[in-house]
Symmetry: C2
Subunit: 329 residues, 2 copies
Amino acid sequence: MAGPGEFELIREYFASHFQTGAQPAGKPVARGNAAQSSVELGIGDDCALLVPPAGKLLATSVDTLVADVHFPAAADPYRIASRSLRVNLSDLAAMNAEPLWFTLALTLPESNAEWLEPFARGLADTARLFGITLVGGDTTKGPLSITIQVTGACERPLRRDGAGSGDHIYVSNKLGAAAAGLPIVLSDLEPSAEQRQQAEDAYYFPEPQFSVARAIGPYASAALDISDGLLADLGHICSASNLGAQLDLDRFPIAELAAAMDAETALETALTGGDDYQLCFTVPDEHLSAVQQLKLPISAVGRMRSVPGIHCQLNGQTWQPRLTGYRHF
Amino acid sequence: MAGPGEFELIREYFASHFQTGAQPAGKPVARGNAAQSSVELGIGDDCALLVPPAGKLLATSVDTLVADVHFPAAADPYRIASRSLRVNLSDLAAMNAEPLWFTLALTLPESNAEWLEPFARGLADTARLFGITLVGGDTTKGPLSITIQVTGACERPLRRDGAGSGDHIYVSNKLGAAAAGLPIVLSDLEPSAEQRQQAEDAYYFPEPQFSVARAIGPYASAALDISDGLLADLGHICSASNLGAQLDLDRFPIAELAAAMDAETALETALTGGDDYQLCFTVPDEHLSAVQQLKLPISAVGRMRSVPGIHCQLNGQTWQPRLTGYRHF
């Protein structure tokens, strides 16, 4: 059944939440925050026209979220939008970039106002919260899938290939909430209201770690966001930096939801569970005290070392997880 | 069945065709053409790091191609890649932007070397042809779908909202080849070898009109690429410019494949068929002779006018198509 065409769809549901109209030539979009001031022409033409910030690098990243792979197809569209944009923003945060613009490629089985309205609202609310502007998009018919590309401005990039042997390994906040909460999000389990809240917040409202990234920017040698589990993602720092790592798990920062499980499963969930979007970063010895003085919500969890591989120690003994990270195929 | 993980997939099939490795900090990617010189860090980190060209606008556009909606799922992956990148490049051309970077978000039902190898090769060959560099991507598991975002540098953008009443309407080359050829592409029809060649070239190798856009850049008042059929796309110029249009169909440039059909169907196909990716642009009276002197493969097909709507004339009589443009939903 034919609903409104692509153009009406975009106009109706996104224009009402975003500043989408193509402006008359020579009249730039009204200027709000720093991000919007760099948009010369938004949605509605063959391309968006953007004014890149002078003297800065651009950082850009793209992620696709497929229904029933990366989120439950039947989930609240407002929350799907929140999750979709936040996991992309997390890549900007991990690079220590400030949000500028994003595009949305939305594939939908059908034109559906009940779905599009809350989705557009969730996207707009999330964009406003993080100061990023929607500048383009495409809407196609097909199995539900959301591809977002974010672009930010970057002065002091945090790459994953800069770690040195002996650097201290940190993670932000606590790990394991998203993985421990996933069964709650996906099922009709009836946990406590507080547990459900924690699980849904971790899954649908992960917090891109812009503040931590900004603060550690001058001191960290490498960083990334933990999307596939700490062991898998720390492995990327190791291989990009041609190093190994030693983790000390005795006081590992395990999120409350994961800590409710038995000790072994809790630790394993915190180390291998995906979707936390916390930062993992490394700090050279000479910057250690500077980082400690920042009083950030971060924990030192080990050191980089020249021997390849990741070696975990718990209570003075070698510890091995049964699983390592999320496999996409 | 678990194949190689996401990271190995990308590395294997794209690294062999693209310059993908993250470079050591401070050592930029070896500099080839103008586009590559602006890549500080390519695929392999949380974000790509790009050096925007000084003093120019960035033009960016994203398009999704869904299997069996925008291309036959069983088509040669090399050709799918060609089509996917070319239709995106067409948006840059239509804006009069020069290609810089693109990202690929690829959703695949399974990890499949026989599919990925020719796809990556097709993408790399097409990218090389148009001087655009792959700087990031995401590979997810799901129904086959390809989202590409292209970014270019733009000094003299051709927007769709700049047309004036009385401006001359032009199209590049000839129209209708893709729509007329689609039944050949999609079926086992046995046309002449020449017809098959024309149909497949039009569908899988549409030519982004960079040369025409560059040449008319100083003279055109508005432009776009014809992806949904001339009548639909000219309608976008009309609404963005708050004008109508009058088309004179007496010597309309109909592509050979379409011209082989009966006259009425041929004209209708040329006017309403999608996928041609030719340019439609408008030229103010004062620049008409300058544009005519360019000796471009373009045809004047009508004038913009202040009365809303698109009015077509054939042999002195009003002409109405039975269909207008492609509906996405």
